[in-house]
């Protein structure tokens, strides 16, 4: 069965969505991520959707579910890289992704997770 790969970086999980997500693939990702958060004791989840050409209500709901489940499991989810056309469409559709943190790119997303976990180095290295 087709799956979206989940990479581990320290205590964060990184997901890069590179295909047009059909419904079952989105649901599988949601299940896989929930298991991996627990198995890897992850504290952060970064989902890169820069290659995603649309986010409809189903994909939007899946992203919201992932954010809510990871929060319950003590991990922060940040969705990064949304294309401007996707953002415009999403808001017009009526979906503002409540409860989902977003950042412009992977780097800013990692910094956001770092700050949420109270790490000083997230702001550009340890303070001296």
């Amino acid at each position: 069965m087709e799956r979206i790969p989940i990479l581990k970086m320290g205590d964060c999980l990184l997901v890069t969505i590179q295909v047009d997500m059909h419904d079952r693939l989105a649901t599988t990702l949601q299940d896989d991520l929930t298991e991996r958060i627990v198995a890897a004791r992850a504290r952060g989840v970064l989902i890169d959707i820069s290659a995603l050409e649309i986010v409809d209500s189903f994909i939007g709901r899946t992203l919201g579910n992932i954010a809510a489940m990871s929060r319950v499991l003590d991990a922060r989810t940040v969705v990064v890289g949304m294309q401007p056309a996707v953002a415009i469409t999403l808001v017009e559709l009526g979906l503002a992704l409540p409860g989902v943190s977003t950042a412009l790119n992977v780097e800013k997303g990692m910094a956001l997770i770092g700050r949420a976990l109270g790490r000083a180095e997230a702001d550009g290295g340890p303070e001296t």
């Binding site: 047009d20 059909h22 419904d23 050409e53 409809d56 469409t89």
Partner: protein, 134 residues
């Protein structure tokens, strides 16, 4: 108003929704739609294709490229032979759902289109037609 091109697609299950998105994207690109307009009509098509599967038990999409004097339009007609919608007005309201989703599909598709028509009869099915002009 002239129809420049016509085609149709079967929507049997959720696996066909990606195919609907792809064909609508191809048509929107070939008709010269901007990236934002492409994204809007593809997203609206995705919502309506899912509705046809979830509520109508599957259906068909008919695509038409229109020429209306100085403007071009992409018209998409989604039709199913499902149970129909008893209260169309309620179904158009955001948050209204009988299928466990977010209830944004119909209202969202309407907002993402320039023209929106819906005809539904209980026991006979539902037909939703959207048009986006450029």
């Amino acid at each position: 108003m002239a129809v420049l091109r016509r085609d149709s697609r079967e929507i049997r299950g959720t696996q066909d929704i990606v195919g609907v998105r792809q064909v609508v994207r191809e048509w929107a690109i070939s008709m010269g739609f901007s990236l934002v307009d492409q994204t809007k009509i593809v997203t609206a098509a995705s919502e309506l294709a899912r509705n046809a599967v979830v509520y109508g038990g599957g259906g068909t999409l008919a695509l038409e490229a229109l020429n209306d004097g100085n403007r071009r339009g992409l018209r998409l007609a989604f039709e199913d032979q499902g149970p129909g919608i008893p209260d169309v007005e309620a179904a158009l309201r955001d948050g209204f759902t009988t299928g466990g989703g977010l209830g944004l599909g119909l209202g969202g598709a309407k907002r993402l289109s320039n023209q929106f028509e819906i005809a539904s009869r209980p026991g006979e099915g539902t037909r939703v037609v959207i048009t986006r002009w450029r």
